[in-house]
Amino acid sequence: MYGMYLSAEGANIQSKRLEFIANNLANLETPGFKRDIPTFQARYAEAIQQGQDYPGSQSINDTGGGVKLMNVDIDFSKSTFRDTNVDTDFAINGEGFFRVKDSEGQEFLTRAGDFDLDGAGNLMTQDGKYSVLDNTGKKITLDPLLPWTMIGAGNIEQDGDQIPLGLAQPQSLGDLVKVGNNTFRSLGPTTAVPNAKRDIRQGYLEQSGVSSIREMNAMIETTRAFEANTQLIQHQDTMVGALISRVLTS
């Protein structure tokens, strides 16, 4: 019966994988979205897990123990830009993230630069939940009466003043955790992006990093692997059934 549980585990993990594919495809149009890649790993056999044997013993116990969801990686590769002609749209060409802060003062990072001004002239994210920060961690506030423009190297110029948009990068991209609303939380410390690497394009938006073809392929693979696992469950069921009837008739 052990094999049945292993097959069930396989089927289960494929249906979980489909959840990741569903989320990736649902965010096909989300600016700055980075796709999730779930990684699976072979699990130790039951006997090894319980300490009755050791990995690599090559005994009958070491026959593999199914599969587990190891972790979820985020694919941070740069996506294509889209020309939007909107003044409050920004795209980061290169590395780094925009620094944003929620009303409780907690800082987050985002690649989605579809910002907007609120009634007081503060630069905010599109849902109005986070304020966009400058490189010292202060809110960016623009004078309502004067025109403003991006003058390169990530600086907003208004009336002779320059406000550098806050750009930060984590020590490792693996420190970033998705929290929704297009933002990431960094589990480790972040550092400012060096001046030479600050390159923000106004009037452009970074598109979603999801490739529909790749996801569709993954989806076909997933449904077929699910079917294969359930087929195996049925085979094992038939086998056990045959065994029982043979024992009963003998």
Partner: protein, 266 residues
């Protein structure tokens, strides 16, 4: 289980449907005077934690990152693009286009409303009103054109004057003001080309046309809609395809459940 797949894909389909609504409205207003196109902005929904970072799994391995599954997407806002529309020359003296950021102010029973549609007319009392299907909205401050006027002239700085058959020079009728907002995206759309100020649009700033950031008045022209048909059609195609892809995910989730449901044999 794959029930989550169904709901996640449904959020994507719902958001894309909203985007389609926005595109439909943009396309419907392709010939509307001074119409400003909208855009649907997307964001991802929150994430469900399967396993917190640092938790121990069955093999005793400690993972540096947790496992979190996203629950789909939604439309975070529909944002209006106020980029200048093209100038349509009409040679009608009461067609005024704004070159710049400003809005005309008109009066209604519910307070001031703002518009960029400059297809004005003169009502029975000689007042300049905005031409609208439902009502003539009176320009604020009001400008009167008397019966004996033979022509109306607006300077780029908003000085309105008229000519008569018994005078050789132009007689001033009033001064036109323009209003700007720090965040025009925060204006409430009232239909009929009208906008209402909200807390989010910020303080209204009034000034003469020609002042910095206000814009100039161009007489005898109308501002065309800023909808770009090619862009909208491309958006239409990609939206439809993205919708199809999400519906495929629903089918896959359904198929998985069906396979699971037929697992048991008798």
């Amino acid at each position: 289980m794959s029930v989550q797949t169904l709901y996640t894909a449904a959020t994507g389909m719902e958001a894309l449907e909203t985007k389609l609504d926005v595109i439909a409205n943009n396309m419907a207003n392709i010939n509307t005077t001074a119409f400003k196109k909208d855009r649907a902005n997307f964001e991802d929904l929150f994430y469900r934690q399967y396993r917190l970072p640092g938790a121990e799994d069955a093999d005793g391995g400690i993972t540096s990152t947790g496992i979190e599954v996203g629950l789909g997407s939604r439309v975070s806002s529909t944002q209006t693009n106020y980029v200048q529309g093209a100038m349509q020359v009409t040679n009608n003296p009461l067609d005024w286009a704004i070159e710049g950021r400003g809005f005309f102010k008109v009066n209604s029973i519910n307070g001031p409303l703002y518009t960029r549609s400059g297809n004005f007319g003169v009502d029975a009392n000689g007042q300049i009103v905005m031409g609208s299907a439902t009502q003539g909205w009176i320009l604020d401050p009001p400008i009167n054109i008397p019966d004996n006027a033979t022509g109306v002239v607006v300077a780029t700085d908003g000085q309105v004057s008229y000519s008569t058959s018994d005078s050789t020079s132009l007689i001033p009728a009033g001064q036109l003001f323009l209003t700007t907002f720090i965040n025009p995206d925060g204006l409430l759309k009232m239909g009929d080309g009208l906008y209402q100020a909200t807390d989010s649009s910020g303080i209204a700033t009034e000034a003469n046309p020609g002042q910095p950031g206000m814009g100039n008045i161009r007489q005898g022209a109308l501002e065309a809609s800023n909808v770009e048909p090619v862009q909208e059609l491309i958006d239409l195609i990609t939206t439809q395809r993205a919708f199809e892809l999400n519906s495929q995910v629903v089918q896959a989730g359904d198929q998985i459940m069906q396979v699971a449901a037929n697992l048991r044999r008798f």
